[in-house]
Symmetry: C2
Subunit: 350 residues, 2 copies
């Protein structure tokens, strides 16, 4: 456990404005690079690519890459962030991580038969599943093409590997759909691969692109991103069960509808007495009842076994362990910002 002295201190207003300026300038370059890389000389392809830009959200992965590219530097405490520019290789790996993420969103929308994303009609709704499948492939190929442009194969190998990892995680999840005997280790295996692996690689490649070739630093960045990613997914699953649609900003109760077991439900099924367990299983199988009603009844059942609190405490524990990875970093505004971002993962309600 870190001592109080090791705990990152909250950044000052000045430091925060420096970080904000650096992140905003870096994300603008990431966006420019992404647009240039995905551009097509064929107008129908170009229109599709431009449409997908509307899916862009908080750009969590590029932001983490950008900040790790500061925090890992020995000179992090003394950098003038109003003027410091991220190296081009950092911009490239940040854009690549975002492009891989965008490709998975386009394909997820086909899988989920989703009509809207971020208040925009999905590609599958506007142009059909065929176009959405191939557009996702185009984005994935663009990402791989871009990540060969750092001048070394290290980043490209890492991205190829993480692409395989996240698809394997998604395939494992599909394999366990409607599997009400799913256990916690398998659940963690799934979200570690499908969500946490890409966030981990964004942090790690961000640090590496800033010139940090210390393996211990790479391991810290990776572990920070991985634990944050798992916590992030648990929080996402919690919001799907407990959130209000208006606050979350997307439909809730989707996991129950898709037959996806998440941490609170897995805990509940393991902890509930046999009779109660039977009732919950019957409720999960009762597809005639709308998912929103089933979700409400499940919430009630789970409160009896403390399963929501269990999932919240697992996520909080992961965030705390992610913060532990920061203790050996030089004390800098970047380090403080990473700590704040970690906390925000479990306090967010959207």
């Amino acid at each position: 456990m870190p001592s109080a002295a090791d705990t990152p201190s909250p950044p000052s207003v000045d430091a925060l404005s420096g970080i904000q300026s650096y992140v905003a300038r870096t994300l603008q370059r990431v966006q420019d690079r992404l647009e240039a890389q995905t551009a097509s000389d064929l107008p129908p392809v170009q229109r599709l690519v431009r449409h997908v830009e509307r899916y862009r959200g908080k750009m969590v992965r590029p932001t983490l890459a950008a900040i790790w590219g500061l925090a890992a530097r020995p000179d992090a405490p003394s950098l003038n962030l109003e003027r410091h520019d991220a190296p081009e290789n950092l911009v490239i790996v940040a854009a690549v991580c975002e492009m891989v993420h965008l490709a998975t969103l386009v394909h997820d929308d086909v899988l989920d038969e989703a009509d809207t994303r971020r208040r925009t009609a999905t590609v599958n709704r506007l142009h059909g599943n065929e176009t959405a499948v191939i557009l996702g492939d185009y984005l994935l190929s663009s990402a791989y093409h871009l990540c060969c442009q750092t001048g070394s194969t290290a980043a490209a190998l890492a991205i190829g590997e993480v692409g395989m990892t996240l698809c394997a995680g998604e395939l494992l999840q599909l394999h366990h759909r409607e599997d009400f005997s799913l256990d916690e280790p398998t659940y963690f295996e799934i979200i570690d691969r499908k969500t946490a692996s890409l966030i981990a690689v964004a942090c790690r490649l961000g640090a590496a692109a800033a010139g940090c070739d210390d393996p211990a630093m790479a391991a810290r960045a990776d572990a920070f991103g991985r634990m944050l990613g798992v916590a992030f997914q648990i929080q996402d699953d919690l919001l799907d069960l407990t959130g209000a649609e208006a606050t979350v900003g997307k439909s809730v109760g989707k996991d129950v509808e898709k037959g996806k077991l998440t941490l609170p439900l897995i805990h509940h099924l393991a902890a509930a007495p046999a009779a109660r367990r039977g009732e919950t299983l019957a409720l999960l199988a009762d597809t005639a009842l709308p998912a929103i009603q089933r979700t409400a009844q499940l919430r009630e059942a789970m409160s009896l076994t403390g399963s929501i609190d269990h999932a919240r405490s697992v996520a909080a524990g992961l965030v705390s362990r992610a913060r532990d990875q920061l203790t050996d970093l030089p004390d800098s505004p970047a380090r403080s910002t990473l700590a704040l971002m970690a906390d925000a993962v479990v306090t967010r309600s959207f």
Copy 2:
């Protein structure tokens, strides 16, 4: 035009057996490398990957890469092919081209709602569209991961670029579905990107992996593969219109069913008198009539404008231009085999 003396001579029986031995050994290594690369520690993923191996057909792309890796060498005439082994980088790029091709097959089957491929149930039929989409992504990511393992970024960049190119070609084709005003330049744009580009890159990277860094040789290999690829697609389209299902080995009349205009039909619509053109358009739009019947009537209409012969002669012209690319190569069994393969593209009936 090449003089008679420049035309590759048919290979002797001995030379042919040497080439066959070399190709068989190389393809075995390609297959081993492909299996090792796509292997997963997750049993459900591993089962899916093993299933897709049954889709493997003639392995046209790895075969072309392997033979170009001989034909481009200055010492090609004197190599002992019973003993000569392809360099490992050639095996890698050949496997990568096959994996990209396999990924497109898995996604094509989702697009076409196909139930069988090579007498095997498709992944979408067995496990649903979701699993097929993500499995295709897994294969694509595996291909990109493997192509970073040649030790240089050149091959990886070429594969990333060709991945974007072939997706863009497919998107352009989807955009023009049911577009009965599609013209020849756009048709060629589509098949150049979606089919010929990957075959061209297989030839080019095969030559490069054998140590040929002469840009003129790379250009010849690329042009050979590109013209062969376009001819191959025209022949495929012809077989869909004129072939017998039992000979072709897959369902015919699919293009009409999917609203895909191909070369003979484009020529017919441009060449037919207005009244005849109107009848053909009405026939294409009459989706109530089974595709197989519409295809039969279209064949009749096209015979009036000589459109089948036109497409055949375009394909034959491309094959002849592909063969022209071989004239400056050293006279070797590999060069003769490339010439035979080119001829086979337009003489095949399957």
